[in-house]
Amino acid sequence: MPILKDRLTPALGALTLVLLLAGLWLSLTAPADVNQGLLVRLMFVHVPTAWLSYLAYGGTGLFGLLYLITRQRRYDRLAMSSGEIGVLFTVATIVGGMLWAKPTWGTYWVWDARLTTTALSLVVYGAYLLVRGLIDDPERRARVSAVIGVVGTLYIPVNYMAVEWWRGVHQTQTLKLLGGMNWGAAPVYGIALTVMTVAFTVLYLYLLRVRGILAVRQERREEREFELPEPQGTPLSGAGVRRG
């Protein structure tokens, strides 16, 4: 892969920057909310970070599935990158939510269903990354972690529906996927939130690409150190062991 001639990554980075600046401008100029005051501005970051972490966990599952089907190592690298991004942005979501919760709910943390299931995702994907560190054989590592990543995707609907099923203090979904769209706030908030969400989606693609490239370089360095043959060039190990 001609890493040095890569034009897509800087383009994605520039687009992220422009969109983030536009989103920031929109969300900082939006009028203060009747109930929440200036605190509403935190929502323009909190909701997109949560969206990005869903996207990243979904990506881990999707790339894991693609790896299991195609047995191409690049999908494993993408799944790992996506998992790392997901954990990072879950932490960002929780921290942002805590900063918002202290002045509004009066406490940083409550054992609400949405909060608890969000914190659990750190355990699911933390364990995913931990297991990756415990297996030395790259093929087996890719296979086992792909399975964990795919099953971990079950967590996303549970987390998404948690506010419906358990009715805690957390407000219901910002974007309702079931039963028609319903936006309860002024349209100016909607525009700011949409721009920010798009910006974070592009940010995800950018980070995924950067981390993926880093993973390729890491793999090459490891191969040089151990003087092992190129793992991509071993079609035998993929087809021969598939059925055990």
Binding site: V131, V151, L154
Partner: protein
Amino acid sequence: MNQGWQQILTIARKDARLAGRTRDTLLATAFYAALVLLVLGLALGPDDARLKPAAAGAVWAALALSSAIASGRAFAQEQEAGALEQLTLYPGPHGALYLGKWLGSWLQLLVLALLVLPLGLLLFGAAGGGQVLPWPALGLVALLGVTGLSASSTFYAAITVNLRAREALLPALAFPLLVPVVLSTVKATSLLIGGGWSSEVAAWLSFLAVFDVGTLIVCTLLFPFAVE
């Protein structure tokens, strides 16, 4: 298809016979569950007003933790005997291997639940003392709960059996998926203790049933990739 069913039953029967002869898993999990109940009982104090609302949570915490041990043993004993590789080399679908192993630990866990559920509720003051409990409904909760617990922990036990620090990793991997099961069983049990059968109990149980079936299907489909 027929061969798959036969394989499931053969593996489950083998595990059941082994469990009946040695009884080590059953004894270990029974002692473990009793220990959890005792620790929780001591931690929450002798105050009956605090123990009673915690009864459902304590019982299902004990069962959830025991399910990881039981399923972990199901694969670890094969590994220790060097039989895991042969088991995966037998002809027939790998999904059947998972379902057989699941059925084996499901049976043991069901026996455990039938002991722990009444005993735990009695210890925590939620049963006995002239109180009439809807036992058939509680039995249904136990059946569905045990199904969900053993389905996810059996699946992850197959993954962690080859890892270093498998005992520590199995709960870390499996418990996030066990959480929906634990939540709905605890809710259903405490609702049943509090006021008997209601539409809310039915809603929790139907969620649990859907989750059980979903977990079993996803795990059966993915299991061939987990062991190969």
